[in-house]
Amino acid sequence: MTRVVDTAGLDEIVRLLRAAGRTVIAPTVRDGTIVPAEIESGAELPIGWTEDQNGGYYRLAATDTPERFAFSSPSDSWKRYLHPPRTLLVRTRSTEAGIDVELPDPSAPSVALFGVRSCDLAAMHVLDQVFLDDAATDPGYAARRADAFIVAAGCAHPGNTCFCASMQTGPTPNAGYDLAVAELYDNGQHRFLIDSGSDRGANLLAEVDSRPATEADTAAAAAAHDNAVQHMGRTLSPSDPPAAAAHTDHPRWDDVAERCLACGNCTMVCPTCFCSSTQDSSGLIPGEAERWRVWDSCFTADFSSVHGGPVRSTTRSRYRQWLLHKLVTWHDQFGMSGCVGCGRCITACPVGIDLTAEIAALARSGSESGEAPNTTNATVT
């Protein structure tokens, strides 16, 4: 049953999570952006902050309300807390008797991920398909994932680059959380509707001062949801990806390759991009070696290199691989879309390449390819 707390109640949830020994990771203002990072109290949430996001563009902006969740998606995803940029896989040491093998302890420091958007919850579900596969479960991911206490937060203010409504992943969370928060701020009344999605969520909520939600509260939350759906900055038509996949020789692939820097920013910020490379380090201390897993990107040449060179030697082939994997072949591989519509790749791209515009242009036949309908920033050519 939905409960309602005030700002003190929200802060109390942060306090209780920390008192239970968890590191609380939440959206917070840092270096001119909102990023998920450790907070020590609810006062470090982005109170009164929103942002303007567009292709290759992000600026913080002040709101005139004390809302905690008036922004859209944080500029970085939560991926690093479940699938860290660098993970030690094994350490070995040669001894008289043979080789000592030391496996890292998979248990992780206990965290609470606080204020996770619906798109990002969907992204965690996508990562689960990759790392919790029965045949090859990743022990570190499994431990971090099972432990993480998740407080979801619905979106009332989607950004210019958001399109979760198109991908059916948002804006309101409906599963995969311990607690879900909907912030309401109207007529000077500030309150948070809270639902629990697990026993540990319900137990925590029971410790906080709250009242039952009224019909007016739930109606206001439903109205906020409808309003958010109406205000998505981008759209992606479900018929476009299969149409684009049929156009592998479309001239638009050359066009996007001319703009693409192959810098990899899109893959780094994408909450579902999971690729990594394996690096061995050895040499300075005789007999000792380590193997690390490090985030990698399908935009590098090394990533597809085999004996004789890279399989995808051009930026054109790499962009095509990335886009069609996200939107098309992911379905064959994992039974769902690899894109959850968070829009981060659009914002983080230094030249503002927008996958929704690219896929729309690619879906049309090559002869009629022109400026895509929902491109709001000028593209660099």
Binding site: T33, D52, G56, S75, C263, L284, T300
Partner: protein, 264 residues
Amino acid sequence: MIDRKPSLAVWKFASCDGCQLTLLDCEDELLAVAEQIDIAYFLEATRATVEGPYDVSLVEGSITTAGDMERIKEVRRQSRFLITIGACATSGGIQALRNFGDVEELMRIVYATPSFLSTLDTSTPISDHVPVDFELRGCPIDRNQLLEVISAYLAGRKPAIGEHSVCIECKQRHNTCVMVSHGTPCLGPVTHAGCGALCPTFHRGCYGCFGPAEQANVKSMSGALAQLGVSPDEIQRLFHTFNAWSEEFRNPPVQVAAPTRKTP
């Protein structure tokens, strides 16, 4: 793998010594390095030298004189594995700016008695003169990358040194993008990784001191800089620093886009 301790020589051509100093700067690891490798020739550190040939040579600096053109050939003859270190050795360095001008005129402006000078018209990378086995980028090089190359050599494996953009390291490090979020021009997207995104970590745009990344798209990068309001002259100057003579940065297309990105 070699049974005896491999020997190492460090050579200097036209350079500032900063890259060689990186080896001395490996304070904590220097003893471990010296235990596994004979530092046979390293004038920066010791006058005592051992005669070649050497298993590994680290070569710093660019070729700017006729004498050095001959000396590098001798270094190559004496070296089994030759690694060039730093922007000077890998692309000609900051001194390659002379390649764009009139050297006679520069000599007259800078020196009281230019007739004492004997110099080439150009500053060129080592790889223009002799075959190079591995290039380590940076101005100066990164100590961890240097240790990685030495460790990899000792273990007989490929060094784990990516040729991708600085952006990948920047994001791994959880930095805020100065280009996207602050509007600061940053060459990270076209610059070779290796520094761990040092400058963006301190809220500065990357100056490109590691030179071009693999398949650097300088044209599109110039367009993005123009959109930030950087003038064609300034774009040219951004690329014309430590790695000005690298093929990719040599002639950046600067007249590519008018600033059209909407700003609030």
